[in-house]
Symmetry: C2
Subunit: 340 residues, 2 copies
């Protein structure tokens, strides 16, 4: 059985369940954006890691070393934000091919440092080893969260409303332009989406505010695409959902690029991934509180659907009220990274 | 400037100093076996990571997938032990080439699981991604330590005595046999050293006991070789040392293999690395306490030298009382891994 068969990837997921020999401190192992550890009674730890490999998760033809370094931090901060926590301490492991210059590595470190400053985290160590070919970056990140503020993916209830921060599909549109370099689009639109793809920002402040609100029932960061993240929420919470396609926020620039290149902007918005916005669910009576919180902080958000009972499954509601069950033809899984 | 020049590796070390934007919780960043974080007042966190890359740190011609998985945990547990702490929670990132079979990965997980059981730690998550060529394993490990029990590498004092646990050079002898497959040596000796190389054990219990004793002034795990680890202690503590060569413990089997293959067993013992024993320093008046502690726990140890003032440098004292300054010809840096 070779790994290249899609079915086998699911087997790997089965194997990657946590191995808990000492459960007293483990609040949550595998199965959310970060593990949750009870090291001190009123401050829990969030613990997450992501490995980025050259030509799998990033290409140095498109991204600078600075951007790669910054993104390696951002993707991990995004996981902590999705749990309602505050990112705090990182370790960075680098696998360095010999073809790299010292200047390349200085630039990589400058990107790591800038991201550490942006998110107010410490890089407290790591490992530097030789890599035979690809550049490899692994970041392990510790976050802190008040136990009252933690948000899992598993507590969404039928009747809850579904919100997203920001706008979706920018990163996927940026990837499309890099993969299709001959395409002609206005420079301002190109700049916006390419920047979203190469220099994404984690919603660290919004995640913390949503956790502190204590009324968010489930939350994910959008790394694998909106539908993939909602699928995680629905599976973990044992619910279904309806996404109102007309309400999914797609930036004007993304619509323009999609139109000029004969792409479907909603494919990018629903399945593109790597936008690193947050998708979260809230009971209707709590929406005013959430809206006030996000408005005060200047965080944009949109109401895009609702949670329904599990028996109704996941579906996207088209403007004409037609329901498309997820997964469906034409919106198959498409991500900006080629993660297993 | 290319990385392949030795001098450039030192530059990398300069760049990998920690990036501390928020110092309140950082007791120690880069510069010891693990970072030390003050998350709760009476329980500090130790945080360490190691990246292992196929054909740099291990070869699947020699090691089974099970052994690679177990060793990836062991090398990190060893770092926590060297700080006097208790390893607790790990995240495992895997970069998997497509040529691997599901059975390979099951075996790798079995090795991770066995090591987790052996050291009583939890594996609470990780990341699984596609690798273009080498198998890559990154482990990030959290440990816990009572602030009174922590042992740094920086508190050794002139007059302190230097001890090591166990016997040295086995792992280097094992590597030699794998690199020279035609060599004829007795099977029992081969078995011992090959097992030491492929299935090393971290001194987790000894590390914790030494920390709890509160009298160890400096400690390192022997991953890069005895002299390399003592060099770290001497540099961090601003001291020198004398190693009494006749007292450096070399297993009988290692002496036999060295003799049959015309190698110097002390080269393996002083510079071989990957024995994952502990080297530590103690004031003379505290040696009885340490000896009692280790004897009661059944941990073997040997007195191998003493700390001297920095001006006297690092040197190995030969049986005829000749002093060889370190680094010296013939015992140049040689490690079981090709770490940068």
């Amino acid at each position: 059985m070779e790994l290249s068969t899609l079915g086998e990837f699911n087997l790997i997921n089965l194997m990657t369940r946590d191995i808990v020999t000492n459960p007293a401190e483990v609040v949550k192992g595998v199965g959310d954006d970060a593990a949750v550890l009870k090291v001190s009674p009123n401050k829990w730890l969030l613990f997450t890691t992501d490995m980025l490999i050259e030509n799998v998760h990033f290409s140095l033809s498109w991204a600078s070393f600075f951007q790669v370094g910054a993104k390696a931090i951002t993707v991990n901060v995004s996981d902590i934000a999705a749990m309602g926590g505050k990112a705090a301490h990182a370790l960075v492991s680098l696998g360095l091919p010999e073809r790299l210059s010292v200047e390349n590595i200085e630039e990589l470190y400058a990107g790591l440092r800038q991201a550490a400053l942006d998110y107010n985290i410490n890089i407290v160590g790591g490992d530097v080893v030789k890599s035979p070919a690809p550049l490899i970056i692994n970041v392990a990140l510790l976050g802190l969260v008040d136990p009252e503020h933690i948000v899992y993916r598993s507590m969404a209830q039928p009747g809850n409303l579904i919100y997203v921060t920001g706008y979706l599909g920018k990163s996927a549109a940026g990837l499309y332009l890099y993969q299709n370099p001959g395409v002609q689009v206005p420079e301002s639109a190109r700049g916006l989406v390419c920047n979203a793809f190469l220099c994404p920002r984690a919603q660290s402040k919004a995640g913390r505010l949503l956790g502190e609100s204590r009324v968010v029932s489930a939350m994910e960061d959008i790394s694998d695409g909106l539908l993939a993240e909602l699928d995680k929420i629905c599976q973990a919470s044992k619910v279904g959902c309806r996404i109102w396609l007309k309400d999914v926020p797609v930036a004007e620039e993304v619509r323009l690029i999609a139109s000029l290149t004969k792409n479907d902007p909603f494919k990018w918005a629903l399945s593109g991934g790597e936008d690193f916005e947050l998708v979260f669910t809230v009971a209707p009576q709590d929406t005013i509180k959430i809206q006030e919180t996000l408005n005060q902080a200047g965080v944009r958000y949109h109401l895009i659907g609702e949670i329904v009972p599990a028996a109704q499954g996941m579906a996207v509601e088209l403007p004409d009220r037609t329901l498309l069950s997820v997964p469906f033809e034409g919106y198959d899984h498409f991500t900006c990274k080629e993660k297993l």
